[in-house]
């Protein structure tokens, strides 16, 4: 199943089941979504439930918040995370705070979908990852879908949660054909152990999952049995799964596409040392994007983010440096 089809299926099925669900965003209706996620929904549910909006992110989220307060379950689509900066006040100051400001009397059943990440030569202003930003906001739930299965179940969970969810997608994943697994008792906040291993734990999320899987094949050839964890949920963080794995392998590598400084990896690293410092046999390695705006030039673009080759090389360097 294509990643975007999984998202479409989740929205379609939810809308069919619950009339209070509406979607709104730029080009989500007649055009079918800039990444074809809402394809076919406009003709099926009509312009009252599939709403094309002006190019005004603040008002997209603002309107969605109003809908949520009034009893609807809106799904707002921001074309890319880069533009979500314009909606920041609504997301952080209103959506995230509403339940708290009302003393828990009112809920905010709002889902804000936004694709992000380094795609192919979209240059600095269209290549950002803002998961760190959103994950640092109390009151928000931040989910990241790396695969069709989680895209489907995760988005469905997000839609029916009564708290605001920032649902992160990655631009390179939409056309990817992925295996779809049926899951019973799905838990959106549970990290996935992609591959079990005993020598070291590699923690990753979103598109880096695939770079890590690629890198792991190389590690395997050298006799390194790595465990791969895909976080799925970035806030809350499934520290239990992470800590259990690190306690087993004693070594941990975090791979993220976002810039290294103050990134998601920094938070994960801090929590690991809080939970299992005495189980660590080596300093935790962070493999992350360089601290630069993402360049347009393809070679420089690739040089600024982790690739399977870079992941393998850095792991070997780290092993040699630490004598492990």
């Amino acid at each position: 199943m294509l990643y975007r089809e999984a998202l479409n299926k989740a929205i379609d099925e939810s809308m069919a089941a619950d009339e209070s669900i509406v979607i709104l965003g730029e080009d989500v209706g007649r055009y079918g979504g800039s990444y074809r996620v809402s394809e076919g929904l406009f003709s099926k549910y009509g312009e009252k439930r599939v709403i094309d909006t002006p190019i005004a992110e603040l008002s997209i989220v603002g309107n969605a918040i109003g809908m949520a307060i009034a009893g609807l379950r809106p799904i707002a689509e921001i074309m890319t995370v880069n533009f979500s900066l314009l909606a920041m006040d609504q997301i952080i100051n209103h959506a995230a705070k509403f339940r708290y400001m009302s003393g828990g009397k009112m809920t905010m059943p709002l889902t804000i979908r936004m694709p992000g990440g380094v795609s192919r030569q979209l240059a600095a202003q269209h290549s950002e990852n803002y998961e760190t930003l959103y994950s640092s906001v109390p009151g928000l739930i931040v989910l990241g879908a790396s695969n069709a299965t989680y895209a489907y179940y995760g988005l469905k969970s997000a839609i029916f949660l009564n708290d605001p969810v920032v649902f992160l997608e990655h631009e390179l994943l939409y056309p990817m054909d992925m295996e779809f697994k049926e899951i019973k008792n799905f838990d959106p906040f549970k990290a996935e152990i992609v591959k079990e291993g005993k020598d070291l734990t590699i923690i990753t999320y979103l598109k880096m999952r695939y770079d890590v899987i690629e890198a792991e094949k190389e590690l395997k050839k050298s006799g390194i049995d790595a465990e791969i964890i895909d976080l799925n949920s970035l806030r809350p963080l499934d520290i239990e799964t992470i800590a259990n794995s690190v306690k087993k392998t004693k070594k941990c590598v975090i791979v993220e596409e976002d810039h290294k400084t103050g990134g998601m990896g920094a938070e994960i690293l801090a929590q690991i040392q809080e939970h299992c410092f005495y189980d660590l046999d080596a300093p935790i390695l962070r493999i992350a994007g360089e601290d630069v705006p993402i360049p347009y030039n393809r070679k420089l673009e690739l040089a600024s983010i982790p690739t399977p080759e870079k992941i393998v090389r850095k792991i070997f360097e780290w092993k040699a440096e630490n004598g492990i």
Binding site: K250, Y278, L280, D281, A282, G323
Partner: protein, 413 residues
């Protein structure tokens, strides 16, 4: 309120005191001036009295323990404003609370309510502090947290070993594991542990464990020894697996051969084969992507059993080489460091098990070769040969002609 009873400084030189005897136990009610315990310093034995009235909530040192001066040896819960006020009113961070700590808070008017006093947040807080593995703190030397934790568990002094240069700085888990193995296992036993990748925790680590003990454990649990295949072994496996996919046919023959002094039979066979190959271009051919590539030279792969494994070594331009040269090549190839040149470029192969007394056998075609000849032992000038041909390249007729040419040539070499 809580009153902490500490080890008093009984003399100028005293840094530790030994608890000889406790007069009270947990839950006992004590008045000001009541004897709590008897302590021995470096100079004298004295009684310690309570300075407060209250209930002994916790006794933190056992009889016989040596305790540093000023450290707490007991905790007494005292009365405040005529009420037994528990410290647990103050909320503690969640992670410091044990499950037990979540039970209801107790207020009691009488000191007799002893049992209830035990189940308080402050209790679990204190015990959680006391029970933190102090061992990890004591371990000195440079090591990863995990290595330190394990070293503490097995009472290994990392700093000392590092000063002696026995383990690297900083030390990691694998270094500590090594030390533990060497500490509890004889060298022979340690070798077995590694060879069979055994978990040392499956053994009782209270004595030096010998190899027979390890061996009997291995036998009892029928644990296999794991040997990793060498790259060559893996290559051989791939080669024979590919070979089995080829459509082949077999030809069984006998040849007459006259042994020559100082020359290996294999050398004679190679020479004759190379000459026959010159007359039969298909035996110098290989298939590649729907094309037949025919090479000019007779390049023959020879199955050579070396110390480092079985190799199909290739002798190039065998038709141009003298018997002596081929004989010399056969000797050299046994021990020479092999290069990719020595292992590629052949079109036909031979395998000879005659020297091992084998009468006759069949062989699998090597790599891209068109065929292989398998030779049994020579008996009164006669050898049994089994030819295996790739039917995609050769048919029976061409094979028969090639074999007849070979039989002619072998008479003359």
């Amino acid at each position: 309120m809580e009153y902490k009873v500490t080890m008093p400084i009984l003399s100028d030189t005293m840094d530790k005191g030994k608890i000889i005897k406790w007069y009270v136990k947990e839950g006992d009610f004590v008045k000001k001036g009541d004897k709590l315990c008897e302590v021995e310093s470096d100079k004298a034995v004295m009684d310690i009295e309570s300075f407060e009235e209250g209930v002994v909530k916790k006794v933190l040192a056992n009889e016989g323990d040596e305790v540093k001066v000023k450290s707490t040896i007991a905790i007494i819960e005292t009365m405040e404003n005529g009420k037994w006020k528990m410290e647990n009113e103050r909320s503690e961070p969640d992670h410091l609370k044990s499950d037990e700590g979540k039970t209801e808070k107790h207020k009691s008017d009488t000191p007799e309510n002893k049992e209830n006093l035990q189940k308080t947040d402050i209790d679990s807080l204190i015990s959680s502090i006391i029970n933190t593995p102090s061992k990890t703190k004591k371990i000195s030397g440079s090591a990863s947290p995990a290595a330190k934790k394990k070293a503490a568990e097995y009472e290994i002094d990392i700093e000392e070993l590092q000063n002696k240069g026995e383990i690297p700085k900083p030390a990691h888990l694998k270094d500590i594991d090594e030390v533990i193995i060497n500490k509890y296992f004889t060298p022979k036993a340690a070798k077995l542990i590694k060879e069979y990748s055994l978990d040392i925790n499956d053994f009782k680590l209270d004595h030096k464990i010998r190899s027979d003990e390890v061996l009997s454990y291995i036998k009892q649990n029928s644990i296999p020894k794991i040997t990793k295949l060498t790259p060559n072994q893996i290559a051989v496996i791939k080669n024979v697996e590919n070979s089995i996919k080829k459509p082949t046919f077999l030809v069984f023959e006998e040849i007459n051969i006259t042994k020559k002094e100082g020359i290996k039979l294999t050398a004679q066979i190679i020479k004759a084969l190379s000459l026959a190959m010159q007359k039969n271009p298909l035996t110098r051919s290989i298939l590649k992507e729907n094309k037949l590539l025919t090479y000019p030279a007779s390049n023959i792969s020879v199955a050579v059993s070396r110390d480092d494994g079985l190799f199909m070594c290739v002798i190039k331009n065998a038709e141009e080489k003298s018997l002596e040269e081929i004989n010399e090549w056969l000797k050299e190839i046994k021990t020479k460091k092999l290069t990719i040149e020595d292992l590629s470029g052949s079109t036909f192969g031979i395998s000879n098990l005659g020297m091992f007394g084998i009468e006759s056998f069949t062989a699998l075609i090597n790599d891209k070769d068109v065929g292989i000849a398998a030779f049994g032992k020579e008996k009164e000038g006669v050898m049994k040969v089994t030819f295996t041909f790739d039917h995609r390249i050769l048919n029976g007729v061409e094979a028969a002609k090639f074999i007849n040419d070979f039989k002619e040539e072998i008479k003359n070499v």
